[in-house]
């Protein structure tokens, strides 16, 4: 009795959901995260429902299973717009076009009141790496210096000096593809000394901008598209990028407000971004990003293109010459810094400008097949400039800020799968 009462109480709490974002799953998750009945959490340990949003690569299936097994009982999985795992039996699915909000609520209620049994492990419950060698814990060592636990000798391994000559023990681990603070799909193998990144290598590249984000821009290929629609999509994209960065700065409510604003913009609302900007300035969001963090030079910027290039003073924008923008008094906006703060400011500036353009455009349209400036840079080919070269020496939070300051296309080009640190 007491248990069922507790269950009924618990069912009225926001549904704790851990999202595993696959290909094309990011934007719709951003929208879903605004639902008051849900709470999108950062750690699978805090969640009761695993929401798989978008297609999972074959290479990520093991990671997904590992994340699933970390959820505490009672737990369940909901597949949103993707094929469920073959061996999961009666899997719960929701089509990509639908919102899974009610399905999640219902599933959570049944989970807590006993209507839905908690899922068992997908993987065998054993350590991912077998313990090697001897010792009480099978760790392979004996005595202070003896043995080679986990395949590494005991004295400090050779590590480059990053700070003050006091080398600390290093730790290597893979991060991603479902770590919410990294771009979806990106798996990095990072070696850390404390919270300072020693070296990083790409294990799996991130996804290119998803279908939801690029649809308005792809539309131009098939039909004439209103300038207003394009610019609204741009503003929404930039605000979502800003939101990701704000999350790392510990500004969750402000990030949610950005996402909410982005959604309103997509739905055609007329919004003044000045108050949001003021809130962010008062919160110290600009000042909290260290000056000169994650700089890119002119050649690098030219290769990336898009807002990242304009944030490094490369005044290149297709809209300057586009006929549809001729009467709109378009002026390319630039920042001079080329660092994380400049890219952050650039996104906000461009979002504001895009909204102004959308208002001024009336029913001006971009004709079918005309070149259109996307909200990100060039999508291909892999760049000679590597994300992994930027990270060594940065503190964990700064490294995340640096990665989050690039749009998906830029990260994708700078983090190709290949030989790192030749």
């Amino acid at each position: 009795m007491a248990m069922s009462l507790l269950g009924r109480f618990a069912a009225r709490a926001p549904v704790p959901v851990f999202p595993a974002v696959g290909r094309d799953g990011e934007v719709r998750l951003d929208v879903l995260s605004l639902a008051p009945a849900l709470r999108v959490v950062d750690s699978p340990r805090h969640a009761s429902i695993l929401l798989v949003s978008g297609d999972i690569r074959t290479a990520d299936r093991d990671s997904l299973a590992r994340v699933h097994d970390q959820l505490a009982h009672p737990r369940a999985t909901l597949w949103w717009g993707t094929q469920p795992r073959a061996d999961t039996g009666a899997a719960l699915t929701v089509a990509a076009a639908e919102s899974p909000e009610t399905a999640l609520r219902d599933l959570y209620r049944r989970l807590l009141t006993g209507g839905h049994t908690s899922e068992t492990h997908w993987l065998a419950d054993e350590p991912p790496n077998p313990w090697r060698g001897r010792g009480d814990h099978g760790q392979g060592g004996e005595g202070m210096m003896g043995g080679v636990p986990y395949g590494r000798m005991m004295p400090m391994p050779p590590t480059p000096d990053l700070r003050d000559g006091l080398a600390l023990d290093v730790y290597t681990a893979q991060f991603g593809p479902f770590l919410p603070q990294l771009p979806p799909g990106l798996v990095l193998e990072i070696t850390l000394q404390g919270d300072v990144i020693q070296s990083a290598a790409v294990v799996r590249p991130p996804f290119l901008p998803g279908r939801d984000a690029s649809a308005p821009f792809d539309r131009v290929l098939h039909e004439a598209t209103p300038v207003a629609a394009i610019e609204r999509a741009r503003a929404a994209h930039h605000l979502r990028c800003v939101a990701r960065l704000l999350g790392i700065l510990q500004l969750a409510p402000q990030a949610a407000r950005c996402r909410r604003t982005a959604l309103k913009i997509e739905r055609g609302g007329s919004i003044d971004l000045a108050p949001l900007r003021k809130t962010l300035r008062r919160a110290g969001a600009f000042a909290a990003i260290p000056a000169g963090l994650g700089p890119i030079d002119a050649a690098w910027a030219a290769e990336l293109g898009g807002p990242a290039a304009r944030a490094a003073d490369q005044a290149r924008d297709r809209r300057e010459t586009a006929p549809a923008y001729r009467n709109l008094d378009f002026r390319t906006l630039c920042q001079s810094g080329g660092d994380v703060r400049a890219r952050f400011t650039q996104w906000l500036d461009e979002a504001e400008q895009a909204l102004a353009l959308a208002r001024a455009a009336g029913d001006a349209a971009i004709e079918k097949g005309a070149p259109v400036e996307t909200p990100w840079g060039h999508r291909a080919p892999p760049s000679v400039y590597r994300l992994t070269d930027m990270l060594p020496g940065l503190e964990w939070g700064e490294a995340l800020l640096t990665i989050a300051s690039f749009d998906a296309a830029a990260v994708c080009r700078m983090a190709p799968l290949g030989i790192e640190n030749p």
Partner: protein, 101 residues
């Protein structure tokens, strides 16, 4: 709680501390031994002050000075360890087997 019992506990702490300070190879563990001995000293001093000296203020002063000594020992100890570590990349007493590097 008698003074004798209290002093016995303090003596036990000092004994264990001495064992640690003499036996440990790591500098930090060695310092733990010293700290444990000083812990015993603190206990004995407060015991004397409280049960045998009628609360004479100078007894508390002694404890405060002992605490200052502990702080000095910690600070200088860790500074020395940092210096040794820079030079030998180890905090083992055995690593200091020569006077020069």
């Amino acid at each position: 709680m008698t003074l004798t019992a209290l002093l016995l506990v303090a003596a036990a702490l000092i004994g264990i501390g001495l064992y640690g300070a003499l036996s440990q190879q790591s500098f930090v563990m060695l310092m733990m031994g010293l700290e444990l001995m000083l812990n015993g000293v603190l206990l004995a001093a407060v015991g004397f002050w409280s049960l045998a000296a009628g609360g004479a203020p100078a007894g508390q002063l002694l404890v405060i000075i002992t605490m200052a000594v502990m702080a000095v020992e910690m600070a200088v100890g860790f500074a020395l360890i940092a210096a040794v570590y820079r030079n030998r990349q180890a905090d083992m007493t055995e690593s200091l087997d020569t006077m020069k590097h």
